[in-house]
Symmetry: C2
Subunit: 264 residues, 2 copies
């Protein structure tokens, strides 16, 4: 047993989609979340910068005595997951392999689409991971540069969001039967993405897949928390405005939370 | 990527219930299975003997260059999983934590039953693991000494099997809403157990839960096999009669297999 918290990091609010699913599955585990809103989005940044920023968040989480770290950010995972995992003594989980695995299991036509940020798509990591496991699967990737700003500005329910999503996804329509939401911000646009692609396309939420894997790793490493009658307090940190973060986070998580600003 | 096989061990044929589910989920991974029929059942044996026999099977699997070992046997897991896991460099998975976790997620009434062999129930490991995670869950354990011999002698569809199961389970009837099949042989008696308990009781197959966890650990440790067009050959070994083993194994796995006798 290990009652220490689990650390989640993201460039912004997208990682909350992983946290929400995680809290639903394991409500007795304590969460420390840090989002680097001040420097989001990470997607268009150079790899070395993403590496440095992500390590800063990791260092911050380590000061909170976390027992596991989840890179709840595809961009960070694509650049620096293997490095962090190799250097830390605690388990470190990324969001890409769980999503890639789920896509392989889902596709019937062997044609999978991947949506992601500039860095995630440039790294080509989803295609590499999917085809390493399943060489015959065709992967079509699409950069969606306008999705993260829509979510970070809390405009995911606007008519602008609908227009942007429909236009962006047009090249994939009818071409795939499975679509990986390869950025943890994208599940916040899920209903619009599903409408744009049509009901026959299975959307893979890498974050939700990752939440399931966390539970398995807690078992394997024997670091589950005991289920207490009183739920422990979660902690949320952002490098930018706590108020803006709190608005999106509370509406997404469906609960009141405390948010503190942190300087990395 | 790692195209080496995964090693499964069991005291007898019960571990095949884990293998079957594993093959269904990950058909491109290669399996080496060893069953110690000559010395089964393990359940009534002293812990030191179970420890020694299990280590012998582990040593045998290591000669086959396996990339992961699954103790597909609750009795062996209860005695020696932590020791083997600590001593080997490759991941070692047992069947008990996956089953305990699934039971906690399943129960609504907070009343869980556990069926197992003498050693598994004496070790009290399911109750300990379940209550460590969820202190308020009530666990009622039941030794089922006659179940393994029924399965090992291929009598699981007989009227004797039905009689034995109904009599054995009588003390649990109506007392639990979730029942852990805490021995990998028991899923071979599943239809009878379900009938005896009634349709309202959810049966937890520790082996099937474990198969799902294997996939997550293959991802985490990045040791998946590539999906080749041609399925690699599985290997099955027993310390007793290959013919008897083959009969049960082929009917359970639904495929032709080669079985070799091995001396440990």
């Amino acid at each position: 047993m290990d009652n220490r918290p689990i650390g989640f990091l993201d460039s912004g609010v997208g990682g909350l989609t992983v946290v929400r699913e995680f809290m639903r599955q394991l409500p007795h585990e304590r969460v420390i979340f840090v989002g680097d809103q001040a420097r989001a989005p990470y997607g268009p940044r150079p790899a070395e910068q993403i590496r440095a920023y992500t390590w800063e968040m990791v260092q911050f989480l380590l000061t909170k005595d976390v027992k596991m770290i989840v890179l709840a950010c595809n961009t960070a995972t694509s650049v620096v997951w293997e490095d962090i995992k190799a250097k830390l003594d605690i388990p470190v989980l990324g969001v890409i392999l769980p999503g890639a695995s789920a896509a392989i299991k889902s596709t019937k036509s062997g044609k999978v689409g991947v949506l992601g940020t500039q860095m995630t798509i440039t790294s080509d990591i989803y295609r590499k991971k999917i085809q390493a496991l399943s060489p015959e699967t065709e992967v079509t990737s699409l950069v969606c540069p306008r999705f993260v700003p829509l979510v970070e500005s809390n405009e995911m329910h606007s008519s602008l969001a609908k227009k942007v999503v429909y236009e962006t996804l047009k090249p994939l329509k009818g071409k795939v039967d499975t679509l990986v939401l390869g950025c943890t911000h994208y599940p916040l646009l899920r209903p619009i993405i599903q409408n744009a692609m049509g009901p026959g396309v299975k959307l893979i939420d890498s974050g939700a897949e990752t939440a399931r894997d966390i539970s398995v790793l807690l078992n394997y490493f024997e670091i589950n928390a005991a289920r207490e009658a009183i739920r422990s307090n979660h902690e949320f940190y952002t490098t930018a405005s706590p108020e803006a973060f709190q608005g999106i986070a509370e509406s997404w998580l469906g609960q009141r939370i405390e948010v503190e600003r942190v300087t990395l």
